[in-house]
Amino acid sequence: MSKPGTWLLAAFFAALSLTANAQTARNSAGSPQLPNAPGKETVQKVCGNCHSANLVLGRGMTREEWSEVVASMISRGAKATQDEFAQVIDYLAKNFPPKSAPGASPASPRRGGGGGFTVGPNDKQIVDAASADRGKAIYSAGCESCHGDKARGTEKGPDLVRSVLVLHDRYGSTLKPFLAKGHPLQNGASASLNDQQIKDLSNFLHQQVNDTLRSGPYSKVLNVLTGDPKAGAAYFNSAGCNQCHSPTGDLAGIASKYDPPTLQQRFLFPRTIGFGRRGLAPTKPVTATVTSPDGTTVSGALDKIDDFNVSLRDASGEYHAWKRTPDLKVQINDPYSAHIELLDRYTDRDIHNVVAYLETLK
């Protein structure tokens, strides 16, 4: 129901300096570099202020997933033009496509594997999924009743996800001596675990830690279809949406194009980079009309404006620029201004109702 997973934001927080593939180029200082391909400079410009190349090296995701990562970064302050963001998504999608994961079944979600996160140490444990699965069986049999199904603790046993001992552990390095002699229950069971079993348990626990992080599989929008479609239709027809949109016109089939969380984002924030089922959703440019003191008027897509200068491209593609002065008139038209004005007026109930209504437009 929901999209493949906002947990893929994970990837953007995830550096793979340890597992970077063999093709990774390195510069003279030994730092890994992005592959040379169209868009590289844009990626460096847009992302490089906060992230190094090893953040994406070794990752692999679909275009849709990469666009979602970029959308998330925009909400965190990433600055670029729509074109530049499109180039970034294109570069990442082409150069870092999904990797075929040996042994991974399509049904099982990818999950935080360990060494990839920029958070924490470089020598973080790399979780072996098969080992973690074996560890889960050991955990279920001997640990879960006190430490809980997600290892977050119960009244009977402490939280292991936040456990300093677990976080210091690497493949059993601290777990083994603890279980051998230190476990409070001392019922003998933990001391009888062999090295491989301890390693399996360690992998399971580190997997629980990774799953808990922002990059984990829990990090996704769960359900936004909580509204009343009829009330949503009524809002649509009374709040002014129907002045520009029609359920049988531009919105026909919109629910087939976008999943519900995307529908919600798209009508709230139409300029957000869309992570739709068909890739990047188009957005309409802001336009400007500039009237010079002599009365001549030029209109077109706004290129750039600040307190001092303004520029645009007219319908023929020609570039025009002016120094802003008191007698130069600049009129800006944002095609989404009606959406922006609604932000101050919506109730959350209105929003949920509209999503429910849009979801009926299959």
Partner: protein, 532 residues
């Protein structure tokens, strides 16, 4: 002065140890040719008394030099977010794992230091260095406090200040006060307690540690958490440098967001002392008072923004004040002796609080806490202002904040009874940005200059030249008239200004320095005519 009695022995020793270089006295009373701490002085106001660059001659401000950081050809994942320190004509600044010393007159590199031992950690940004005597202090993403010789950048020692395995990291500019190096910590991925360390400038050894959240039975604030376990993992990072009042001998600390960050189900209560302005006694680290800016926050709106000290006047009486424009969109003015609230106002329109308590603290609206199906919240996670520093100008009496009004949709992702880490996040958004000038006596907006475009991560500087310097959303460094907000001058730096600008005077000329991306720009006023 009380302070003299309290700090005199320390200062005496400090003076002996630092017979050369940057003395405690110089840090306390900076001359125009130094910028000795992150904010330029202990008040945090980022106001310079220099007026050789002023409203009359600003159009003559010239580019003097450009310094582009170079770490092996590729971008190293770091914009210059640090405010350079200036000592003996040399600027010292950082990005994560790197320190530079650059000639303040020419932009020529004097030395560069790279932390080669890095074990990892979040490399998003570094706020800069602290300097004392002939020694420099900075923090590394892998949780070390490193001391270098300012002469040549050679390492003197390093000390671990946090636990990288618990997903702490370190990014703060240390602040040196007397014989204390104040060291804050960062990280909010896995439910860890924040703290502020005071460390020995000679050895890096711990003098005291103040935890921002309760760590044991009997600790103050524990009754604002459901359990000691929740409090011990309750967050509250100290990731922006503190300010200091020498007369009161109090340190003013802004504390970060509670953890788990978004899903607050398992931490019901106000969650003290997260998202608070706290006054600590310098010598002991004991808390004198606190004021909570966001009780039980669930939006990542840390209250770490610099608590700026204002010696002002309220109802005709001189008052010692501390003011903060906070990430949650509220402007607070407190009595810095007692912590008593004087002003609470919004510096941008927000929608998350349903009122203000008699004590001045906003009351969070439960409907605007993150929801499974989303809640439309203003501001967004980035906040009405983030870490970039604001400024207070005593000449105009105005507090300047480079502000953003924004909306995003906040979701709960983890419906577990005990969510951990973040457990939710915000998505999407719309924003507009403006430079706000606030009357500190009332919190009222005196003028507002709306920028074209949105999204700002740059700080503010005000000067006796009647100017305010700030970055706009489209890569300009802009000088505005401090009284009116009229934009007077700009330089497009090619990338967004990424730090707080600073200024100094050398050889009779006033310089202005700002960082944008990987480049530091030095401007100078060559015109010498007196101010009109």
């Amino acid at each position: 002065m009380k302070w003299i009695r309290a700090v005199a022995p320390a200062l005496l020793m400090a003076a002996l140890l630092a017979a050369q270089g940057l003395t405690s006295e110089k840090i306390l009373h900076p001359t125009p040719d130094i910028w000795p701490t992150y904010n330029g002085d202990y008040s945090g106001r980022r106001f310079s008394k220099l007026d050789k660059i002023n409203t009359s001659n600003i159009q003559s401000l010239s580019l003097a030099w450009v310094y582009r950081i170079n770490s092996g050809g590729d971008r190293v994942g770091g914009a210059i977010k640090s405010t350079p320190l200036l000592v003996n004509g040399v600027l010292y600044f950082t990005i994560p794992d790197h320190v530079w010393a650059v000639d303040a007159r020419t932009g020529k590199e004097v030395w560069q230091f790279t932390w080669q031992r890095s074990r990892g950690g979040i490399h998003l940004g570094n706020r800069g260095v602290g300097i004392y005597g002939n020694w420099l202090y900075f923090e590394t993403p892998d949780c070390n406090l490193v001391s270098l010789n300012i002469k040549d950048g050679t390492e003197r020692w390093h000390k671990q200040v946090c636990d990288l395995d618990r997903l702490y990291y370190a990014s703060v500019a240390p602040i040196v006060i007397g014989n204390h190096v104040l060291v804050g910590v960062s990280g909010d991925d896995l439910d860890i307690p924040g703290y502020l360390d005071s460390r020995d400038p000679e050895t890096g050894d711990l003098q005291w540690r103040w935890y921002t959240v309760p760590q044991k039975q009997g600790d103050p604030g524990l009754n604002t958490w459901p359990s000691l376990d929740a409090a011990k993992h309750g967050g509250g990072m100290t990731w922006v440098p503190s300010t200091y009042d020498p007369d009161l001998n109090l340190v003013y600390v802004g504390t970060g967001n509670p953890q788990p960050v978004i899903a607050g189900k398992a931490r019901e209560g106000d969650n003290l002392f997260t998202e608070s302005i706290v006054a600590l006694h310098l010598d002991t680290g004991k808390m004198a008072w606190y004021f909570q800016c966001s009780p039980h926050d669930t939006h990542d709106w840390d209250a770490v923004q610099t608590p700026i000290l204002i010696d002002g006047e309220i109802d005709g009486k001189p008052r010692k004040l501390v003011a903060q424009a906070s990430r949650n969109g509220y402007f607070f003015v407190l009595d810095r002796v007692t912590g008593k609230n004087i002003v609470t106002s919004q510096f941008v329109k927000t929608n998350w609080a349903k009122g203000v308590k008699p004590n001045g603290e906003p009351i969070p609206d439960p409907a605007k806490m993150p929801q499974i199906d989303g809640a439309l919240v203003s501001p967004n996670q980035g906040g009405a202002v983030n870490w970039p520093p604001s400024s207070f100008d005593p000449q105009t009496g105005l507090f300047y904040v480079n502000a953003t009004r924004a909306y995003s949709e906040y979701y709960i992702f983890d419906t577990d009874e005990k969510p951990e880490g973040w457990g939710g996040n915000d998505r999407g958004g719309w924003a507009e940005s403006m430079l706000q000038a606030l009357d500190y006596k009332t919190g009222k907006i005196c003028w507002s200059h709306k920028w074209e475009g949105a999204g700002i991560r740059s700080g503010v500087l005000s000067t006796a030249g009647g100017l305010v310097f700030a970055g706009d959303p489209v890569n300009n460094l802009v000088a505005l008239n401090a009284k009116t907000g009229d934009p007077l001058w700009h330089a497009n730096l090619g990338e967004a200004m990424s730090n707080g600008p600073m200024t100094y005077e050398l050889d009779g000329a006033q310089y202005l320095v700002a960082g944008a991306g990987d480049t530091l720009y030095g401007f100078v006023m060559n015109a010498t005519e007196p101010r009109q």
